[in-house]
Subunit: 204 residues, 2 copies
DNA sequence: GATCAAGGGTGACATTTGTCACTACTGCCG
DNA sequence: CGGCAGTAGTGACAAATGTCACCCTTGATC
């Protein structure tokens, strides 16, 4: 019997996924969580009894996201293997997930019957990556440095150069420079396009 | 037996929801669809046999979104009642949904067991609105006209005034004017903030 | 100690964006 | 018919944005 914990912030989806997996006779959902924090709690509670084999988790969740969660699980519960199930095929997310030692990475638009299959394969020691992402996982890495990322994020929220400068304690001209660099590196036409591109790639 | 068609673009979620509802003995999933177009096809196919009682649909889907779909269903399949299930609690979405004659509006973070309950109630003639939205459904309506919406959308994708003008066959100055109006109406500081605000409200 | 890269900054400049006032052409509505 | 709201456009102007060349520290690295 494969022991599974499920983390997903949308309760309806959480419940539905649990129902889906519970149909499988060799898989048992032993806990569900609405965020990363709750997932860690569940793993801790179970630690005294039988270990949890698989943690299935979304990425974008309140409190504690799936990527940070994966790193903590690797450190504190090395026997538990993490499978990410997310909407986002962003290259940067997959990269970070792999760096966090994740054993599976599926998109929410893979067919439903493949979830149970993926769980079994990961439980058996295999690594499962959504095929549409497997190829270009390691091309282009994040071309933006920390400053550029911070500034681009704020710009994408509608702040002016002046406002960004104040928030980050930088001169307005400096903000302009970093933004200009970022726009150039991403081959965008302006800050809005640059923000969109970076976000798409998971580089924020 | 309540006859249900399900539309949702994320295959995994679609499958999971289907599994969830199929556990109910009085509900039967007779078709699933990955977008609005497919949902219409399914309704058309079923029309010759018994009618479909309930169409459950997401809003943001490729090809044909849930709100447009709802309007078409009201026109072409008046016997079928529509239930929206979406991530987004945006006021504008709910408003448009209600205007389209939708009978149910649930958020994806309502507990899973309430989905079947909502289906039964809508099938019985009731109207079911997610309680956290029911109250402020009819405050503030969309202050943007069609032109302003179109232009703001394109601006939010990073297009320049010139580019927007070309796409919409308008002079650059005209684009500037509409954008300026939109920014003013939304009390934003610039196009980016205006875009964010409008999007948040479901006014796009 | 010289050199060099990174991080932060300045000033000048062209372009884009945002604001406003005012014009022109519809299509209603009284 | 006159008035008026909605849609499109123009011109002028101020402010914000984007680009570039160049300066100054500070810490490596040779």
């Amino acid at each position: 019997m494969i022991r599974v914990v499920l983390a997903e912030d949308q309760a309806l989806v959480l419940g539905a996924l649990a129902a889906l997996l519970d149909l499988e006779s060799d898989i048992s959902i032993i806990a569900t969580a609405a965020n990363g924090r709750q997932a860690l709690d569940a793993l801790t509670r179970q630690a005294t009894e039988a270990p949890v084999d698989i943690l299935i988790t979304d990425i974008e969740m309140p409190e504690l996201g799936g990527l940070d969660l994966a790193e903590m699980v690797r450190r504190d519960f090395p026997a538990t293997r993490v499978v990410i199930v997310t909407t986002f095929g962003r290259a940067g997310y997959l990269r970070r997930a792999l760096e966090a030692g994740v054993r599976g990475y599926l998109l929410k638009d893979t067919p439903a019957d493949q979830l149970a299959a993926a769980v079994r394969r990961v439980a058996g020691g295999e690594r499962v990556i959504a095929p549409e992402l497997a190829l270009n996982a390691w091309d282009g890495k994040n071309p933006l440095n920390q400053r550029q990322r911070d500034i681009l994020s704020l710009a994408g929220e509608g702040l002016s150069n002046r406002a960004i400068g104040q928030k980050l304690h930088l001169a307005e001209g400096t903000v302009r420079n970093y933004l200009s660099e970022a726009i150039g590196e991403l081959q965008a036409e302006n800050r809005i396009e640059a923000y969109r591109l970076a976000r798409q790639q998971g580089w924020l």
